[in-house]
Subunit: 208 residues, 3 copies
């Protein structure tokens, strides 16, 4: 697969990996952040930096895509993959910001669990995306995608359980408003990871 | 219109109809569920089963689409139609789950009305989608799409009225949080039905 | 750039400009509405009319697009540009309706600021979109897009500050529910303006 017409040294795969590394690293920082429960400013800053780095990689990809005739796979799949990878890191950053805005201090056991599932899911997403460099990996890529789908279902159940408990034990409506949004955003990260997996699956099927 | 390169017996239209039947049936179950007001577990289970069946049909369509050279209409329209049909059933399932999570027992007159409009809209969507098998139907397809658009406007007005009444008479903020989400989700089903109608309209115009 | 096969007198640019004028004018009406703080029915009606006009322009574009072989730029970019421009005016109309539903009377300083940033952003969007008629403008188009991106960041900060203050000083949970939604919707308008700018940037890069 040749990258004719591309600037020397430019490689879509390098930038997809940059994006997915940002997702993995921000999920890791997020997990640390919520495990501390102190709204640690350094972690929040680091998540924001990762979001900027991922954003830059996404912009470079889209810019090159618009200037390039030959691409490693369908243009619309590149566009979609980049957008969804960007959204993963964006959403993690949004939750971190929202925790700060809501001044949600203290360790919430359910959010810690969510963060751990999000970390697992970004690892599976990274396996899938990094596998695209070599389509001979298609079996291990598919297994990673299945894992991402499984974790999305886990997330659905976790969100429903978290919301049910929140509303059952609720006394402070303001706290309900805050935590409802945080849990729903956390589940949304897993939804977006699943969207990435769907794009990867499409790419593989077409190459088969 | 020939389906060369497609597995023997595979037919996109059969699967679109499977998807739209799932939407119609889940709308019917949902209507029954909210009319009983008892969070009937069997109805909720049936809605969930229909969501799984619709999901499988969607996956089969996308998989075949990626492997197929000749399609009955534009690939991006098939993709979009499948995705939006899937979202209709998904969203109905989401509301059912949320009713359970929120433990919303009792018959809510406004939600019963919403469910009835949703049922009407899925019937019109089914007429439109099933009409695609034979483009000679274009006039009746267009009428069905106009009806879906009309019902979306009805839904907007219903949601605004429901929210206005909810906030005017509100005493329990937790109940406001719950019902606000349910009404907004109900209106979203009608938005997605309208999205389906837009895709169908695009397909017809291109074939004209 | 020839518009063969298009009905005499049909011009995509005229309709994009119609759409963007609707966005600019509805942002202006919205700004006046929230500055008065009286839920002025005439302003709300005017915003709704502009939303209908924008909607009609969008439908005409999509209909022509589906019937036309030769387009001024990529079909999917036309589709996306039209959709996002439509969403700007839609979202402004949604906020106006929601203010009425929530009976939010009185001037809210933060919403007035938001409305002013939204007005600025729609002006920059208009510069970018109107520039597309003549690609020699590409430098000024790009500057307008940069400005839209800048205002989106301003909006993020404004929303976070508005939410932080809302939750810190909150005594009435029902008021929190209302204002939280209004501020988040206001920021969403700026997100959609940024989406328009992204499409415009893609169009320019491809023409370069």
């Amino acid at each position: 697969m040749a990258f004719k017409f591309l600037p020397k040294g430019f490689n879509f795969f390098d930038l997809f990996e940059k994006q997915v590394d940002c997702a993995v690293n921000s999920a890791h920082c997020f997990s640390e952040l919520v495990s501390k429960g102190t709204l640690d400013v350094d972690s929040i800053k680091e998540i924001q930096d990762l979001e900027h780095q991922g954003d830059e990689a996404a912009h470079t990809i889209i810019k090159q895509l618009n200037k390039t005739f030959i691409t490693p796979f369908d243009r619309e799949d590149i566009h979609e993959l980049t957008k969804q990878l960007d959204d993963v890191t964006d959403m993690i950053n949004n939750i971190a910001r929202r925790l700060l805005v809501f001044k949600l201090i203290g360790v919430d056991k359910k959010l810690v669990e969510f963060a751990s599932v999000i970390e697992e899911s970004t690892h599976a997403v990274a396996l899938a995306v990094k596998g695209l460099r070599n389509m001979k990996n298609s079996k291990s890529i598919q297994e990673a995608c299945v894992e991402v789908n499984r974790l999305e279902n886990v997330g659905d159940t976790m969100r429903d359980a978290a919301l049910a408990e929140l509303f059952e034990t609720a006394t402070d409506p303001i706290a309900v408003i805050k935590w409802k949004e945080i849990y729903q955003y956390a589940e949304t990260v897993l939804d977006i990871c699943e969207d990435v997996a769907h794009v990867v699956e499409s790419i593989i099927v077409k190459q088969a």
